[in-house]
Symmetry: C2
Subunit: 360 residues, 2 copies
């Protein structure tokens, strides 16, 4: 990809890209890669860690900002075209760098690049898939635990914290994102955050959680109802599940990600809920919880073997509640293989009488 762009070297600044290529997990560092060099530049706080974490990169200790060391490195190695990550490098960092290059009259051109490393990242190696699978298994286990916790006396926050503790105490490195437990009308907000609201019988509870193992994320959603569900909720559950299963069944390698999105969206539209499915069908999962490919109506990505992504249609009815069902899948031999194991055919949890008084 660098040769196609005519680059002598590439400066990698995006932290997940740095980790992907080098193994370095520190919060401050740069990779500089050419056909003969692989350099990890970081300051004195991180040089020891860098040496421990990276195998193939030469660790270079730097001091000060990019413009104080990069131009000299580049001119010393006779690079003339240096790529950088245009979606990550700030306007100010780029500006200072190019001013320094001008002032020093170096024959060095800065070339913006977009998603070079991200394109590598979206096709997972077997070792990466294994880590994602471990993270997926852990969220499956956490959901088992969650089913035992959720009860009409617990708040969303309490349930979310119990789930987080379970994940952390069972091997998750932090969490992939703050767990979502959203009940009743709160579940109608796709990005709801847990509140002090107590779970009620007859209402939905939407659980959206993710673990992280060896740096790799899982992402998981299920929606349950404590006791008997409102007719509309049961109906939208059925529609979402049907759409999710249809997408899993019909997605193929080589398909446009926008077309994959349409597989589920068409069914939701036919059921009369087109405007209630406001987000995309899914997103890639890896070192980042959201990474390419993007499965949405406006995506220009293409789905390929080795990609790992979520399939998570949802229907959200303001004031009543929302339903989202989310699995992680990988494309293998042309078809979607579902990594998530948790059941999704049972919506209404038994054992909760809707007449039961709500107490604290």
């Amino acid at each position: 990809m660098m040769a196609e762009k005519g680059l002598d070297a590439l400066l990698v600044s995006q932290p997940e890209n740095c980790r992907y290529l080098s193994g370095f997990t520190g919060s401050s560092g740069w990779l500089i890669i050419s056909d003969s060099h692989a350099i990890l530049a970081t300051d004195s706080r991180y040089t020891e860690q860098a040496k421990q974490e990276t195998q193939y990169f030469e660790v270079m200790q730097i001091k000060g900002e990019l413009d104080s060391w990069l131009p000299e490195l580049a001119s010393g190695l006779r690079w003339h075209k240096l790529g950088f990550e245009a979606n990550h490098l700030s306007f100010a960092a780029h500006h200072k760098l190019s001013e320094t290059i001008k002032a020093k009259q170096l024959n060095l051109e800065l070339i913006p690049t977009i998603n070079l490393v991200e394109r590598l990242r979206c096709i997972k190696e077997p070792e990466e898939l294994e880590l994602i699978l471990k993270a997926v298994e852990l969220t499956d286990a956490a959901f088992e635990q969650a089913r035992a916790i959720i009860h009409p006396s617990v708040t969303e926050k309490e349930a979310a914290w119990e789930i987080e503790k379970f994940l952390r105490q069972n091997g998750s490195e932090g969490v992939a994102f703050d767990p979502i437990v959203a009940s009743g009308p709160n579940s109608a907000l796709p990005h709801a955050r847990p509140t002090e609201r107590i779970l009620h019988t007859g209402e939905v509870v939407l659980i959206d959680i993710g673990a992280r193992i060896g740096g790799y994320c899982s992402d998981f959603s299920r929606t349950l109802c404590l006791g008997k569900a409102h007719k509309t909720l049961q109906e939208i559950y059925n529609v979402v599940l049907e759409a999710q299963l249809a997408a899993i069944d019909r997605i193929e390698s080589g398909m446009a990600a926008a077309q994959a999105d349409q597989l589920a969206r068409n069914l939701i539209q036919q059921a009369g809920y087109a405007t209630a499915f406001g987000h995309g069908l899914g997103h890639g999962v890896g070192i980042a919880i959201h990474e390419p490919p993007t499965l949405s109506p406006t995506s220009t990505d293409c789905l390929l073997d080795g990609m790992v992504f979520t399939i998570e249609p949802g229907i959200y009815i303001t004031g009543l509640g929302g339903v989202r069902i989310e699995d992680v899948v990988t494309l293998e031999k042309g078809r979607a293989k579902v990594l998530t194991r948790s059941a999704k055919n049972s919506f209404q949890l038994s054992g909760f009488s809707n007449q039961q008084p709500i107490e604290r």
Copy 2:
């Protein structure tokens, strides 16, 4: 500040700056501020939340990237000079925006700005100070708890997790940063992360933790020794403590932050540990765990009444261990007022015999 720069409006993209000015905590949004408008632009996922969280901003629902809505907004309001945050806006976002402006032949100039909102943020309002104080009190309480936990049979990771649970279960919104518990030689790395290493008698344990209350952070470090300390460790403890107390005593409003750093650094240098104090004396604390002012030899900041920052000298001896003592202070009526309450005069924890065997 906008008038000084001749700006008709300012685009704020840095998330902490958005939160500071508007109250909005979502992960995706922009503020656009002029003398007659205060707009919070966000997509459909966050418009409900934005309306709940912000009082003085008009919430505008947007779709797509910056260049698809901002140029029209700006030209509709007849703005000609639009400031943006040059340290945060990416090269690519700026480039697309200016290409769109060119293509539409708009009379609109993009003006880079640095740290405009950050300069406001570093002087704390009484309400902000109150939240920081609550977070500081919580880390003090967590340290009390930590003293009960740390014992020669616990791993660094276990201790860090117990501390995190205490913080989270007592009101911290997540943690301000991942807790550091570093023992023995690990404590010599200023950015150590907890490992599976078991705490040993006769070794130091460095604890560095932070809570978050109402969005505001605390930052706290203490170093203890389980039982009798190596002579050198006791000596560096005394030097660090003396340097820390001297800095607290002599810092004044109006002083250059670099000079404040020197107050502690001189003493450490005189004791012969100049090269073992590799980081700055401190940093501002607020919505971000690290924000202006920066107390370091190369800082150009000035310390002013109302600022809140850490004072945290350290000495790190590779292979043996490190000592860091960190308090949060605020400048009030010209002098540093220490917010942190935990004792720092006792280094060696009694009750641990150095002859005690290490078991699991």
